[in-house]
Amino acid sequence: MEIEVRYFATFRKNNINKETMIFIDEATVGDVLKQAGIEEKEVAILLVNGIKVNQIKKLSHGDIVSLFPPVGGG
């Protein structure tokens, strides 16, 4: 299955804003983080399709994962 991963703020490395990750079997948000090389404690806002989740959340084909470090304040 294909998952779109969106990176924001300091998670944007080498100008990569988003990428598609392909998983053969089931995958969780934790697997996405592992593949992205980001530790869960670095993530302040973790969204799947715009809804806040934690890393045990199971993913489905086509899901969008958005990752933000601690930012905000308006």
Binding site: I45, G50, S66, G72, G73
Partner: protein
């Protein structure tokens, strides 16, 4: 009590009489300073039914006990008056260095009464206070006035001024200080303009007395460590400023787009904090004694200056469907030069675009300019026209409510109590919506920033769609914010600090004996006196509401799809936790309990 100078400067602009009075310390104890004390003074001195642009309204500049003192962000002041935009009490907060300088000059408060016969400005150099002619400054922009004042007056003087928008009595005019810091909201710039007062230049050489330096040092060590350790105040705001919120709210499907017709903007990333940092940012900047430094200093072409905040990127950006960051940065610059509130200005353009698209505004009103969602070509020109009241800009200068009302369709104005809503679609953040509906000055996010728990997860994560318990969160946030605004520190410290810290701060500087509980009660007192001012001004609880669109039109797409705001469910519970009647009026008992 320490931390205050104990002095009020009273200026009658008509008679040109300048008097110094003692600050009423009993009131200072009950209302702290800034927003609280200013509202108490307005209650005592001004009939709430006054026409806000008449000489009978007063313009108060009120510092807090922390302003100019050695605490984190201790440099803020409040402009308190009756708002010509909303008819409510107005208290607009600003940072920069101006407020601290007023304290160094030996004053806590300035009260302006009546109206000058011709344009004047006030010069303060410690106890030398003069009203001087401002004919040569009238009609000119904020940077021009600032430069002239700095050439003419003492080295290091700080300048507060209105731009052409305030002079032309635009109801969305701001008061600017230190060039790009704004007491932005509620049209306070128009009140200053109505008094023929162009600027206040101040230079001081003193320091307010403080309670105990050792206790202050200890308190600062603890609080600065908390600010540094907090992800938002320690890293997020310094690196990206507030602008980084564009993408967050967009990903949540709560970024108002095309005048709140949509809640996601396909091109959000083009106007986000990341793009701003990548392509325009030169450095971050800080207000007086601020360890956070969220300010943006940007370059565009050969022009440098203060950059847009999140709210501005939204108002001129997604709310107008515009992804042209160059144009937004320039529009922000022109708001600063004209002295316009960027939220109200951008949001009024957005409303105008919808009115044009729906056929209410006719082509021949546009003087050939474009007014279309997604077209950034003329937003700079519209901004100037609002400031100068030219063409359709004359109607837009009155804000979106009066603009839409003039075409018979006020429902296209996204306002609460005629003040333009900020950049969070409340259908996707229910607590923030309750906050908007109940805020004493109208559609405002900085009277209780529920986004903190509902989106950022601080101090704990709340379900943003839930209504349960939000009334209590709203009340506590509103009361605490009233304290922060009255102390004279920045609301952004509250990501890292809580009520016990603000009590510690006040105790260390002023020698008070507050606890978290007692200081929150002061906040509640301030909230209630503001409410009482509004009620006396005729702003009744029927105005504790949201635009029809947000109550009845479900969000069409994205992660917040299907949601409307459930104000009906929440409002009665809110009145109950406030200890008010079911009709939303403070009860006799409540007022007595608060010593009002």
């Amino acid at each position: 009590m320490f931390g205050y100078n104990g002095k009020v400067l009273r200026i009658n602009l008509k008679t040109r009489q300048i008097a110094t009075e003692a600050l009423n310390m009993e009131d200072a104890e009950k209302f702290i300073g800034g927003r609280g004390l200013g509202t108490k003074m307005m209650m005592d001195e001004v009939d709430p039914q006054v026409d806000p642009l008449s000489p009978e309204n007063k313009l108060l500049i009120v510092t807090g006990p922390m302003t100019g003192n050695p605490v984190a962000t201790g440099g803020r002041y409040m402009v308190v008056t009756k708002s010509p935009l909303s008819g409510t009490i107005a208290s607009s907060n600003s940072g920069g260095k101006w407020g601290a300088e007023l304290k160094f000059a030996g004053f806590d408060v300035i009260i302006f009464e009546d109206k000058a016969d011709s344009p004047v400005y006030l010069s303060i150099e410690d106890d030398k206070v003069e009203l001087l002619p401002a004919d040569d400054l009238w009609g000119t922009t904020v940077s021009n006035v600032t430069k002239k004042m700095q050439e003419r007056h003492a080295k290091g003087c700080k300048v507060m001024t209105i731009g052409p928008a305030g002079e032309n009595l635009s109801l969305i005019a701001a008061i600017m200080n230190d060039e790009d810091r704004a007491a932005g909201r509620s049209g306070v710039g128009a009140v200053m303009g109505s008094k023929n007062l162009k600027a206040i230049v101040v230079k001081g050489s003193g320091k307010p007395p403080v309670f105990d330096k050792d206790i202050i040092n200890e308190m600062n060590k603890v609080q600065l460590a908390k600010i540094k350790a907090n992800g938002v105040t320690g890293q997020g705001l310094p690196t990206y400023g507030t602008a980084v919120l564009v993408n967050i709210l967009n990903e949540l499907g709560s970024l108002p787009t095309n005048n709140f017709q949509l809640s996601q903007f396909a091109a959000a990333d083009d106007i986000g904090g990341e793009k701003l940092a990548e392509n325009y940012l030169i450095k971050n900047t800080a207000c007086y004694r601020c360890p956070i430094a969220c300010g943006r200093y940007v370059r565009i072409g050969d022009q440098e200056g203060g950059g847009p905040e999140y709210e501005t990127l939204w108002a001129f950006g997604s709310d107008c469907g515009i992804n042209d960051l160059d144009a937004i940065i320039k529009a922000n610059h022109w708001c600063n030069e004209m002295g316009l509130d960027t939220i109200s200005a951008g949001s009024t353009i957005a409303a105008a675009i919808e009115l044009k698209e729906k056929g209410y505004i006719k082509e021949d009103e546009l003087d050939g300019l474009k007014l279309e969602f997604g077209n950034g070509t003329d937003i700079i020109e519209w901004t100037k026209r609002m400031g100068y009241r030219q063409g359709l800009g004359n109607k837009m200068a009155e804000g979106s409510y009066r603009l839409a009302e003039s075409y018979g369709v006020p429902e296209f104005s996204m306002t609460v109590k005629k003040l333009e809503l900020p950049a969070y679609d409340p259908r996707g953040v229910q607590g923030q919506g309750l906050q908007y509906a109940t805020t004493n000055r109208g559609g405002c996010h900085v009277r209780g920033y529920l986004i903190s728990p509902e989106v950022l997860g601080m101090p704990e994560q709340l379900d943003r769609f839930a209504t349960e318990g939000k009334e209590t969160w709203t009340k506590i946030f509103q009361d605490l914010t009233a304290v922060i605004d009255s102390l004279g520190v920045c609301l952004f410290t509250s990501f890292a600090l809580g009520a016990p810290d603000y009590a510690d701060m006040y105790n260390a500087i002023s020698g008070t004996h507050h606890t978290a509980e007692s200081i929150l009660q002061v906040g509640e007192r301030i909230w209630n006196i503001e409410k009482m001012f509004n009620l006396k001004a005729g702003i009744l609880p029927d105005q504790d509401t949201l635009p029809e669109r947000l109550l009845h039109e479900p969000i069409a797409e994205g992660p917040s799809k299907g949601w409307v705001h459930k104000l009906d469910e929440m409002l009665p519970k809110y009145y109950e936790v406030r200890g008010w009647s079911a009709e939303g009026m403070p009860t006799e008992e409540k007022l007595k309990e608060l010593g009002l």
